[in-house]
């Protein structure tokens, strides 16, 4: 058991290098947005979905309707649905362990465990790895939030981290769908239309318009049929 933990600790090092600075930035944003520092700990411990947590800061500060919060969580995290196809949950033994393992099935956890390198890892090693990664994220967020609450005033311009995060995620997602120009175009149009027509409920309206557009394209069969 101890060797599983030690191996998992080593496996987690590379991802930890990315999670810690981002976690610090997240925590800093939480307190700079006016929320108490321990909300950074609560978000990262209870929700544990990096990019969505960044968004939730803004939604929460604006007291967005819970339906918007739920729909945003759904759409930002819908990509996780397909992680079940190759994540080695069958190796994780026990109800509680399986529950935690699915709860902590983040992009990073999936990326590390779905590769060929992980084929020989035991369920315990996978579980330890997930636990270490959440500790980095929640720990760094808490430290960042505490730092932020001691800073005098606010750091102007720090909120750009969220814009940069989604610019990067959009670029990566677009690269995965090279050649599929209608999808980002449809999304862009949905977002701009929602901004102009429903400025108070932009996110909700944009998601609904985009999903309706995609469905219409799928059902009329005009778009390319490849999945």
């Amino acid at each position: 058991m101890r060797s599983d933990a030690r191996a998992a600790f080593k496996d987690s090092a590379s991802v930890g290098l990315g999670l810690v600075p981002l976690g610090l930035a997240f925590g800093l944003l939480v307190t700079q947005s006016g929320l108490d520092w321990w909300w950074a700990t609560a978000f990262t411990t209870v929700i544990y979905a990096g990019s969505f947590e960044f968004l939730l800061i803004g939604l929460a500060v604006a007291v967005a309707p819970l339906a918007t919060v739920a729909l945003t969580a759904f759409l930002v995290n819908i990509r996780h649905v397909f992680y079940a196809l190759s994540f080695p949950l069958d190796r994780v033994k026990g109800r509680a362990a399986k529950a935690y393992s699915t709860f902590a099935l983040t992009d990073e956890a999936y990326a590390l465990t779905a590769g060929g390198r992980a084929r020989t890892w035991s369920g315990r090693r996978v579980l330890w790895l997930q636990l270490f990664m959440q500790l980095y994220w929640a720990g760094a967020a808490t430290v960042g939030a505490l730092l932020g609450s001691f800073l005098p005033g606010t750091v102007k311009g720090l909120d750009f981290a969220l814009t940069a995060l989604f610019a990067v995620l959009a670029l990566d997602a677009l690269r995965d769908r090279r050649g599929d120009l209608p999808t980002p175009l449809l999304a862009l149009l949905a977002a701009l239309a929602a901004r102009v027509l429903f400025p108070g409920q932009m996110l909700l309206a944009a998601f609904l318009l985009f999903t309706a557009g995609l469905l219409a394209r799928h059902l009329t069969g005009r778009g390319p049929r490849r999945a």
Binding site: G34, A164, F166, D172, M202
Partner: protein
């Protein structure tokens, strides 16, 4: 500012939706795999959702004020860094650092 009951509800709702998306597919793999519509949506949604979220982040950009230049320049740095090195952390921290720098100096 949001009150504590609202924040607790927001966290619980978010956690429930996120965990459901991660856990339920293990129980419902077969129908998911065979649904052409689910497959169609799930392969196209991530790119579109990220584009929407990017526009959402820029929704209050002051188009007629010089401040807009700081954001656009930082965005160009972020995208440039990412096309060049493909290192998400470098792109995010680099772009943010440039924005903080500009917002506190040239555009203060």
């Amino acid at each position: 500012m949001p009150d504590t009951p609202y924040l607790v509800a927001a966290v619980v709702v978010s956690a429930a939706v996120t965990w459901a998306l991660r856990a339920l597919p293990f129980a419902a793999l077969a129908p998911l795999r065979s649904s052409a519509t689910v497959r169609y949506l799930s392969t196209r949604m991530p790119a579109g959702v990220m584009v929407i979220l990017l526009v959402y982040c820029l929704r209050d950009l002051p188009l007629t004020e010089p401040d807009v230049l700081a954001t656009l320049f930082a965005l160009a740095v972020t995208i440039g860094l990412h096309l060049w090195r493909r290192d998400a952390l470098l792109s995010i921290l680099g772009g943010t650092a440039v924005h903080v720098l500009l917002a506190n100096t040239l555009f203060a």
